[in-house]
Subunit: 202 residues, 2 copies
Amino acid sequence: MIADDERNPASKADVRREQILAAAQTCVLEQGFHRASISKICKLAGMSPGHVYHYFENKEAIIAALVRRDLDHVLDFTAGMRASADVLEAMIDRIPLGVAEKLDPRDASLKLEIAAEASRNPNIARIVREADACSLKSLRQTIAEARRARGLPDDDKTVAELAVVAAAMFDGLVIRGVRDPDTDREAVARRFAEILRGVFLA
Amino acid sequence: MIADDERNPASKADVRREQILAAAQTCVLEQGFHRASISKICKLAGMSPGHVYHYFENKEAIIAALVRRDLDHVLDFTAGMRASADVLEAMIDRIPLGVAEKLDPRDASLKLEIAAEASRNPNIARIVREADACSLKSLRQTIAEARRARGLPDDDKTVAELAVVAAAMFDGLVIRGVRDPDTDREAVARRFAEILRGVFLA
DNA sequence: GCCAATAGATTGAACGATCATTCTATATCG
DNA sequence: CGATATAGAATGATCGTTCAATCTATTGGC
């Protein structure tokens, strides 16, 4: 075989790890952390239970990797925003997309599971909080830039407060999507834009 | 023994049921639904595992009762609001309390666990959605009354949209409390009040 | 070019623990 | 006495994890 480590950065081991994580994600999504057993995961990943432990130390390591992967994905999503010329318009343009994604019950399940686990598992909490600090920082930069462009004060305190409120608004949609699946996405997006313009840029 | 069902509505059976629910709540709070086993619950409640099944058909019935009890408590909280003379002031006065409660990580654990479970367990979903419909209705009435008192349009569509956004804002705090335990409660409460006055009453 | 040696990939049975649940036996009380 | 309350052992399933055995593929000697 041609050496993977030179021609292809995704070695066989990496592929296997990814298979396990994908299977674990499906299981957690469908049944939650508690019922996502190793036996189900390895069956879905098409390998034996013993082999799973060749790539992950234990079940918690799988969960931690899953959490980290999901949070990395979120960070990627927000990263593109600050690259735009008009940051505010980029934010507002993305609201309908962000609202739709957060309200999607398929995503909600995993995110809620992660949050619940973080509220009592210190290892998961650390991962979640690192990602959140990074995500909030990005949001603060975006808000500060939008305010500067409009000649508004962009002191740290103001910007930080607005970022927390904005984060809370979007985070809340994850719960709303579960509590009321028929939530009107268009209306929420419109009202969110209204708040963004009316409060965040005033 | 004096007949409980006449003199005291809390019969011995009700007391036992409540013991079980209290123990179950503690277990779920500390370890989540998955690790809240019958053996732990019955040990904490001070009774044998067999006896638990004398009062609940199975584990899911305990969880369902726990969910229902938690949601009833939330409905009680919001019910008092509409009784006030000045509904808007009552709403705004209650913001700091509501913010503090939602950001409390002790409450968050149970609420997130319930939401996560609802996103894939139809029985739990039904209970959660019934309670949410009730809670949202209450919120709509409050907002409509506040707007009427200020001569603002109180058409159903507008009010419904605002209620959803307000619910999302507070729901989001549950997740924020987990993701960033150091969230500034005073600042969030102040900004929320600002949004309530600036957007909901305009 | 072939064969033995070796190292990594993979298996699946087995382990002890714990799970939700059931059942029978005993205790308590009206 | 009859009925309800309660206990706790037993059941079979499933859990996370381990481990010795087997397969596969690459390497090095000839």
